[in-house]
Amino acid sequence: MARISRRGLLIGGAITAGAAMTGLAVGFGYLSTIDVEGLRPVPPQDDQPVRLNAWIEVLKDGRVRVAAPHTELGQGIHTGLAMLVAEELEIPLERITVEHPVKPLPVYANFVLALEKRPEEMTGAFDWVGRRLIGAMQLIATGGSTATIRNYVPLRQAGAVARNLLERAGAAELGVKPSEVKAVAGEIVDPRSGRRLGYGALAAAAALLEPQGIPSLKPRTQWAVIGRDAPRLDIPAKVDGSARFAVDHRPAGLLHAMVVRPPRFDGTIESVDKTAAAAMPGVVKVLAMDNEVGVIAETSWQAMQAAERLAIRFGGDDKPGISSTEILAAMRAAVNDRQPGHVFSDRGDVDVALADDASFEATYETPYLAHATLEPQSAVAIADGETIKFWSGAQSPMPMMQAARAVGRAAETHVTLAGGGFGRRIEGAVLQQAARLAASVPGRPVMVAWRREDDLRWGPFRPAAVARLRAAIGPNAMPRALKAVVATQSVALGYSSRNMPFAIGGARDKGNVEGLADLAYDIPNILVAAKHVDTPVPVGFWRSVGHSNTAFFVESFIDELAHRAKRDPLRYRMDLLSKDARLSHLCRTLSEAAQWSGPGSGSGRGRGVAIHASFRSYVGQVVDVAVSAEKAIKVERIVAVIDCGQAINPQQVRAQLEGAIVFALSAAMTGEITIENGAVTNSNFHDYPMALMKDVPAIETVIIDSAEPPGGVGEPGTPPLFPALANALFAATAERVRTMPLSRHGYRFA
């Protein structure tokens, strides 16, 4: 049986269970009908764009529309995918538009997220079954930094197959052999006669031809698009206000809804008096749902004002609620108790080494964090007969399908631009609210857009974690053994319990220790174990997920070992990575780019370094800080090096590195969701502040030139910043911060 990953299965959710079982029951015959390549043309229809395959449509004027089953969250993925098509289709990038497909065809499924293998690695019989199963589940999703990996080969193939059809149609029209024509910039050209025909004129004839296999792809040396900086296709609309996010969708008759929930995670709604709210201007409907109350009005402001007038008696607060202080205490207790936890990595004999050698031990802690996408959770829904039509910047259409099913209807899924994602938009809550509220006013479109306060308080959050690391120090002051125990709250369990009919995860969730269990450092004896601390706090996928915790743990600890050994922290790491060619090269490149000459000698200035591999990419960062006696930190310089294999659009790889670093910088300085008496105390950006212009230095980025297949880019830049900053702070002040964020220790941005 093909191995289906935890994360992919999670996102598959309820549909997974049903469709997978059906697929298995009906068996091979059914599976063989699932088209996972999508390379066949569709017979043309009058006046419609011509679909040369599931990925590529040609318009009458020769422009090309690419179906990109990935959400444009800001990561530039639509442009990157268009570049893959453009390279083989031979059409200028600016003649391509990109849209998320409405129809969830099996061909669009993200089998890389689900099966954790590159398409080009999927050659076995199990892979054949796995790809078709994932397709049958319509597991379309954007996450895990997989979109480029998933499409690197298939979209070039789609471009090449479509080009071949156009070449053959063009040759027939020009009365020459297909081998005699060339595709050049959106035209089929006969070089001898100089005659040329545009793709728009040829598409209908091309769509009647049979594909003749997949032409061989251009070698890297002949690329004209991939690997060169390209301007993003979505940027012009993002500077003049014309870009449309879900909150900007304005169908005729649009209504606006606000939703009220109990403040406590474990709270209930005992009773609702709707009278005052219903009497407010513009109010159309007040709807009590399971554990929420929705107010629908003509405008957003009217809905907000009316929601304030709801008289709700909340329950479930007879006992004191949980606090983040208690949760961290429970996690601390868990890493210190004698229970082994779930062991993910067990190499050599850690206990013998720890008994024989001098040892060093440290405990690190991280808080809950919010995504705080600048566009809060939002969706528009219309109940149109037996269908709910959705518009949302969701990271997957699957939660839309689930939300529609929950109100007994089918879904039509329109995935819009998203005002930031970071893992937050893989959740279904706002879609469920939109479906229920829309179903209560059939035929009227309803927008649900959360207030900032709702978005910050309702979560889900990046889980807090506590890690206890212990090293046996062998010859040359190098670690001979490492024992790491992480106590945290399983994201898999949190996600599945909210979004699926069954719960998976817990201590066995490998997200608890990703980045630690698969450590690249050459340490002969390693034991990595996880413990799950259950709480009512909702936790979810947050940019880089478990890596956002484990990089801080490991890279702080290694830094401590280096300093204790009085070794240069970068050279110390290089010694531990000498058997890993890619990471060694990364370290050398970082050392040169940052002009590394050691961490500095304190006195208020210092440099920190961190290296971390995640999502099939490798990132190293050097951070320079100046720290005043009043604990004001000025981040003076950040240098980041990435080895992400083949970069598709280098300027956007840099943009993602910059963005991932700033994202982590906010979290490292002040990011902390605080929970008291079962509820989040933070409410808005005054008590969940963000790094601003004045706080962010120039970020120097280096992309290692590589022809290796692409790795992820959206997330890998985030994890190393936490330890690099803490390590810089240590170099500057001799204060070792083992608890995030730095604001807990009195530090602030200068």
Binding site: I235, L374, A418, A655, G659, L692, I699, V702
Partner: protein, 160 residues
């Protein structure tokens, strides 16, 4: 009825005079380029240009505060103020936006800055641009402002 002057046109709306300008722009006038981000004047996503001089968060302006003012949103910015068009071009040249949700407010704030200080220093940019960008486009915004102001200085290997 409340009369407003928005992007050079006079419009009447029936909303209560205490209604925040943001929601009238978005829900009544369909000027959706101006975004909600916090409702508390903290993030700047809703920033508009008032009287072609000041950048202000429209979530904190009540209709009655701005009845006599010229309100310019992102949709009318380039036509109203020449420097805004330069900023938009610079934003494209520097490939600033990621998700793009904050950028209308950023460009409005940058427009007010360049009106007040045509060749701003880094310190002036720090003081004037206090909007939040969750995607972290700050280094590129800084470069785009310098580019529009003609004060762009290439610094080392920086690509930010």
């Amino acid at each position: 009825m409340v009369e407003l002057k928005v992007n050079g046109a006079t419009v009447s709306v029936a909303d209560d005079p205490s209604t925040p300008l943001l929601w009238v722009l978005r829900d009544r006038l369909n000027l959706t380029g101006t975004k909600y981000g916090c409702g508390a004047g903290l993030c700047g996503a809703c920033t508009v240009l008032i009287d072609k001089t000041r950048a202000e968060p429209s979530c904190q302006l009540r209709l009655e505060d701005v009845t006599g003012s010229e309100i310019t949103t992102i949709e009318g910015l380039a036509a109203a103020v020449g420097v805004a068009a330069l900023l938009q071009q610079a934003w494209i040249a520097e490939q600033v936006p990621q998700c793009g949700y904050c950028q209308s407010g950023m460009i409005a704030a940058a427009t007010a800055l360049l009106i007040a200080s045509p060749h701003p220093s880094d310190g002036e940019i720090d003081d004037a641009i206090t909007n939040i960008c969750r995607c972290g486009t700050y280094p590129r915004i800084r470069r785009a402002i310098h580019r529009a102001a003609g004060t762009l200085v290439e610094k080392g290997a920086s690509n930010g």
